[in-house]
Symmetry: C2
């Protein structure tokens, strides 16, 4: 007897299409480890090919669309997400275990909606295109749409970084590109629901039907073929390092921009004066940030560096106490749980002392006890490669160094990270130390913070959610912060002696909106 | 009996160092095929390691230098090049066969000097850092120096793209990075002379001694190890496609930005109205541009597309006549000559009709007869991969199509190119055709031109000397045009709640120069 599993359809060219396959995936409720009851297809190459064709056709339209039309689409989609809030939050909560409130409903969903609206504003304004006009030479350049973007979303933000609603999606669409969204396997139903809303928005705002495709999984081979396809303009990938590097290699071979966010331990340095001044506050701030989202933030402060001093033990005990008293949150999936336990075993096996936690909690719920590990700076420097292993989840590694000089050596041994934070006293006694630590740290990170934890990633034009490899795959771009994040999906194009009537509106003599910043003969102006 | 060859020294950390090796290279005068009499070492890994150490040490200083100091260095170097003009031109002429005047002395050398001075101005002004300030969130970002840059210069511009004086060099240094220059093997003596001037400038302006290193060649293995080294921030490569892709793969594997300019046939489309209006002028313009620098420009208009019409044969005959009557210039090297002959054989074997030229000229001089090949659009579309092979040198391929639609199909079959040009009539009869052709072409090229040949690459802030792969390795960057070209060698860095006194000067509340454009709360301003 064969059981036929009903598979949810994929979204291709505006249609929900059923796949004829027996390969499927389904997500589980990490609070109960029970299936949520829906199965999703592993798409065939034939489906990928249809997705590519639809995206390619849509690109021929989308890249020439009036900015106001793309903006209207993004705004319509944002509104539909808002209207659908209860349902979306319900589904996402079930699939990810993230709390409905405040996290999903009051923080992440509004952030997602806001991102889409800020992107809409950026499209309308057109300043993102960075128009540069040299009137004397009659040479003009700007960024234009690059081509369909394949977006792989991560597990940790089912709305704000979802491949079909998140930062990469918003940036790619806003820059005039169709998207082929590959759902994260840990929240397919959330992604499907967002896909339904996106399909409605495409219809309602008259977008080309192939503006957005949604698939759930492919074979590794087809995934590689997809990102390497000549019809694809770029790839946005946020997720596990190994799979990301594999896809990146394929894209690199054919010269395709592959924007990856792979891993980061986000070093935090507490300078001596800060300890003297506000040890208790540091305990609070660090523990709160480290446990935020059950430690599953890209910017989780996973590596703490400090110099051994009179308050060291009290501080460590304070963090341990916070980690022990806080309930261990539900992790996103069994896979996150397994991977966290494995990382912790790896680190303790390498010599890290486990001060609390370290093991899976009993029961069906995906959860690991809040974990604090400790090593010395000497240990770290003996094997920096090992001790900067990311333990994704509710675990931190406190590295107690002999001296500030040792902290600098530890920093120099780090790979690229998204963020680095330095806490110092408010009266200036740490200033000399600060200079040395900051000088080393800013070479290793995309964002340097003072007296602030890295877990907040504001959607600001000045934000850099990026960093040297392997935090990301290119040190010159950010994945958060509009309009800067849109440049990843733009093609720099120069118009040399092109007749005025043939220029993109953003490069003509008259400012297209009256509000578009353009650099004309070396002067940034609205004129 | 062993003959000991005296080898010229390499420049490491401010010192001219002799290499203990018997592996060497030397350049020849392409006008006589005689050696110019100097031998250069193939450097060992030990030398590469010294170069890396010196560059790394220098970077710790250069990235924090006052902009005015870097500017002073660039200006000092520019002046030394000007003062040394006669000697430099003499050496470069001998090694490259390029005419002393106007080419080397009156065009390329002044361009090189100008580039260095424009770069100096950009450093002083600091606008290149793209400072973005969000006052409310107190988040501020800008580009800062990325790390030592390895520059591989091409054969075709011994000054303007030389690894130790050209565009990549100027951009890398201006962004605060040391350079490890790898001389092009076809003009080591020119590069050595420039290296002597650079070393003087480093000394005279008090730069860190390791700001510039110069080596001439390494083994392939050591070259790969060099670009992959963690101390290297980025690589600039202009040259042959195969070697470039090999190095790129190595850099990609370790997530290192590798800016390559690899090959381009630079399609030119003559629309029917342009023919009707000014056929003779088109013949002139095309032949002049195609033979400029003996066709050895990156932007050489190697592929001409036109629709068969009443003037086709007259036009083709006109170009052939120009190519026959113009003297065949001296090619840069035997290697360019061999490669050109091979490409021409490849294209004719594939079915291109050789209307004139096609073979090496008799004698010791490196020269190939000026060559015009012709095929039909149908032939092109049968094997687009073959017919867009770059024949680097004084050769062009005229593709006569059946229709405008066929031209668009040919364009759609092209890889990425640096440039694409469209000629149309001045009265508007080509306008409908133009839209279709331009729409296709602008997706394939970095720079779109109207009624203008692509061989002029103005040093303008609006210039894009870039384009989709494989013209370059990233569609978002330009190698010419300051300050834009500097961004390739910058690291985007965000300062989140960083105390004002600790910020880079460009991000503090007060404008550091009064002339630095910064985007403050969404407004580009000098305030």
């Amino acid at each position: 007897m064969t059981t036929t599993i009903k598979l949810q359809p994929v979204l291709i060219d505006g249609q929900w299409v059923n796949e004829a396959t027996s390969h499927s995936l389904s997500s589980k409720d990490p609070n109960t480890s029970e299936s949520i009851g829906l199965s999703y297809p592993v798409s065939s190459w034939a489906t990928c090919e249809l997705a590519l064709r639809a995206a390619h056709r849509a690109f021929q339209i989308s890249r020439n669309l009036e900015p106001s039309k793309i903006a209207a689409f993004l705004e319509d989609f944002a509104s539909r997400i808002e209207t659908d809030r209860d349902e979306l939050v319900q589904i996402a909560h079930r699939e990810t275990g993230l709390p409905k409130s405040p996290r999903l409903s009051d923080v992440e969903l509004p952030r997602t909606v806001n991102q889409l609206r800020v992107a809409a504003e950026a499209v309308r304004n057109q300043s993102w295109q960075m128009p540069i006009i040299d009137r004397k030479a009659n040479i003009r350049s700007c960024y234009i749409a690059l081509g369909p973007v394949v977006v792989f979303g991560p597990n940790n933000f089912p709305f704000a970084f979802n491949s079909i609603s998140g930062g990469d999606f918003a940036a790619a669409i806003a820059a005039g590109n169709p998207v082929i969204a590959k759902a994260n396997s840990s929240h397919p139903a959330t992604t499907e629901r967002l896909g339904q809303l996106v399909a409605q928005s495409i219809h309602a705002t008259g977008m080309p039907t192939g503006l957005v495709q949604l698939i759930y999984r492919t074979s590794h081979e087809d995934g590689e073929r997809l990102v390497a396809d000549p019809r694809v303009g770029a790839v946005g990938y946020t997720g596990a390092r190994k799979a990301g590097l594999h896809l990146k290699a394929v894209a690199d071979r054919v010269g395709k921009p592959f924007y990856a966010e792979l891993s980061s331990v986000n070093p935090v340095v507490f300078l001596p004066g800060a300890f003297d001044e506000r040890c208790d506050k540091l305990i609070d701030e660090y523990a709160t940030s480290g446990l935020m989202g059950v430690g599953q933030f890209c910017t989780n402060p996973g590596l703490l560096l400090m110099v051994r001093g009179p308050k060291t033990d009290a501080f460590v005990a304070g963090v341990v106490s916070k980690y022990q008293s806080a309930p261990a949150g539900t992790l996103l999936s069994e896979s996150v749980e397994n991977s966290l336990v494995k990382s912790l075993e790896f680190l303790t096996h390498a010599g890290a002392e486990c001060l609390t936690g370290g093991t899976k909690l009993a029961g069906a719920r995906c959860a690991v006890a809040n974990t604090v590990l400790r090593i010395t700076g000497e240990q770290f420097l003996k094997d920096p490669h090992v001790f900067q292993t990311e333990a994704f989840g509710n675990a931190v590694l406190i590295t107690v160094c002999d001296s500030l000089e040792q902290i600098v050596r530890v920093i120099d041994s780090l790979e690229g990270n998204l963020t680095g934070a330095i806490y110092s006293d408010t009266q200036g006694s740490d200033e000399g130390y600060y200079a040395k630590v900051a000088d080393a740290l800013q070479q290793r990170v995309g964002r340097l913070l003072n007296d602030k934890m890295p877990t907040g990633v504001a959607v600001s034009p000045a934000m850099n959610h990026g960093g040297p490899y392997p935090a990301t795959s290119h040190p010159g771009f950010t994945a958060v912060g509009i309009p800067a994040s849109m440049l990843r999906f733009g093609k720099l194009t120069c118009y040399d002696a092109v007749r005025e009537s043939r220029l993109p509106s953003v490069l003509r003599d008259t400012n297209p909106t009256g509000k578009t910043y353009r650099c004309i003969d070396g002067v940034w102006t609205l004129e």
